[in-house]
Symmetry: C2
Subunit: 363 residues, 2 copies
């Protein structure tokens, strides 16, 4: 699958990250050598500079830039913080250690440039992403939350102590956790021809038990609610590197819809990144029309649900025909249904009847 | 480690569960054959029949019983529901399928004895636990949430398709998910001499990265917040079957304290079960006194935190000296700290300094 050796791929990525960070440092030194106060320029992430791109099918940043200069007294604090974040990121990459956003917040205190709170610290990491074009996972800053994968895919680790070791992702039938080691692994081989992402843990287990991975030749991914960024990136890679189409199954309500949408088109917060979206992924259900067609047990929409649907209706990511139709249907039937509602027809109905019908319909 | 073959152990458990359920059914048939309305008797789970047992160091049910009889018109509904739940559980065991509490709720609709809501359905499953003495996991009703384990332990699966297969729990450095397959596996071999349970995912990853499993010869468990029931049962098994002492590390606040306590002494809701507690497990930190001793970055306690501490102060599970001392300390310093706060001293301080000190202190 890969022509290059996997170990050298991982090394190359690390080298690129470090080169980029060293470049940032070198520019600052150069500026000072030339007798100017050091400064950094980057695309603005303010709301008026975030646009939805119909071509890329995700949010992107516009042309506005911001400049932070050590000359401006109001800039000194965020300027210093970004420079420190770059230093911290290079230490992580060099020592091959991972951390979390929370660790970054506390670690800064050791350097006596404390952040006033977690949002300030998070925002500086996003600045560093914007300046460098790398995502924080490339800097070894990983999310706390974990999701899982199961199916016919063999990966090779690149983390210290596991270099060269391979894992068959069918080796543990509860699913294999998507953490820093899996995220940074390389794909070795697969026979699967699609990816099925599932919101709920109970259903993920049901799919494994009913051998959906075999019957439908699929890699199964548990998003466990809103998919963590590392998982969205992993789905992106499965789609790009292995050319696997992606089908997403969520609860039939505005929140489930949005779990699918964030995998597909991402969020405004990540408008400066490109590798967290999978624009060709399909939301395969549970649709509002499924609630009607399959006569599913359902609950009434709450006021919060309805308000959310009206928000989604105006959201540029939801412009497509399917989305608009389903939003309208939810609003007209005023009902929602969970994935488990199919158990009403027996535990395996969802696998035997619903899944094949929907894979066909959304293919 | 086991003298019996693992496959036969799992079969035996399944046979016991089915035998118990058939016994329940047979009693009902007998009653009817003898011309009486069928009835079920079980310990009462009402609040006045739940006591804390200082010997068992967990909540237990007292002597009061309740009887549900098909003769009493108000009993017919819950009586029928428990009988159905018993039937459903026996189907799961016989077909070796797993499900969730949510599946149980929806599945009942197929039999036209719908539950009015999820709490009613959950309560009937708890009734079935109380009647039979088995836990719902024994009936293959598993929680949605997952936690993880990592370390030198080889298990053998008993789930269909994986019988006889073994997994080394060091094979995936992000941690191995504790789902139905792992929960129902048997222990084959280990060299570890302790279990370290950790609340937060970031720290779990740090511990693996810093090779805590090697340096401290430990199995590492991620509870991911409040430990799911299946994970509490798994910790109980590691302690009972492998005689491994258990050390629990949480955030330094009343909620972290309680995560440790529920692993140690369980909850009032599970007063009818014995295999969800590990009374000899130790809460090793982050203590209130650690916040002071290690000069940790901290946040002020909120009013909700303070209210919760006063509740815990009166809770019979918190009678021990350590707990009372730490509750008082939290209330006097009016501060709390997260596990990640140690990053203030560098990312590996928690492993190099804090962990060995606390393992020694709480051994």
């Amino acid at each position: 699958m890969k022509e290059k050796k996997i170990e050298s791929l991982a090394k190359e990525k690390r080298r690129e990250v470090l080169k980029n960070l060293r470049g940032l440092g070198a520019r600052l030194y150069n500026q000072m050598d030339n007798g100017v106060f050091p400064w950094i320029k980057m695309p603005s992430r303010s709301i008026e500079n975030i646009f939805y791109s119909p071509e890329l099918r995700q949010y992107i940043l516009g042309d506005k830039t911001v400049q932070r200069s050590a000359r401006n007294i109001r800039h000194i604090r965020p300027f210093t913080q970004v420079v420190w974040a770059g230093y911290f990121a290079s230490e992580l990459a060099r020592n091959r250690k991972t951390s979390t956003l929370r660790d970054v917040y506390y670690s800064a205190q050791a350097y006596e440039i404390p952040f006033k709170d977690q949002p300030e610290s998070n925002s500086i990491i996003t600045d560093l992403e914007t300046v460098t074009g790398f995502s924080r996972e490339d800097f070894n800053v990983f999310p706390e939350e974990r999701s899982a994968i199961f199916g016919d895919l063999t990966i090779e680790y690149t983390v210290p102590g596991y270099e060269g070791k391979q894992l068959d992702l069918m080796s543990h039938p509860d699913g294999v956790m998507i953490g820093p080691a899996l995220t940074s692994s390389e794909f070795v081989k697969t026979k699967a021809d699609k990816v099925i992402a599932i919101e709920k843990g109970g259903l993920f287990t049901r799919f494994i038990e009913e051998r959906v991975h075999k019957k439908f030749n699929a890699l199964l991914i548990l998003t466990a609610g809103q998919a963590p960024r590392a998982t969205r990136h992993f789905i992106h890679r499965l789609n790009k590197e292995l050319k696997l189409p992606v089908f997403i199954f969520t609860d039939g309500d505005p929140w489930g819809m949005h779990i699918a949408m964030v995998i597909i088109s991402g969020s405004a917060n990540a408008a400066h990144l490109r590798e967290l979206t999978t624009p060709d992924a399909k939301w395969s259900g549970v649709w509002a029309t499924d609630i009607v067609d399959y006569k599913l047990p359902s609950d009434a929409l709450t006021e919060v649900d309805i308000k959310r649907l009206h928000e989604l209706e105006r959201d540029p990511r939801y412009k497509g025909e399917l989305w608009q139709r389903e939003i309208k249907k939810f609003l007209s039937i005023k009902k929602k249904a969970e994935q488990e509602a199919f158990s009403r027809y027996g535990l395996t109905y969802i696998v035997d009847e619903y899944l094949p019908a929907k894979l066909k319909e959304t293919n």
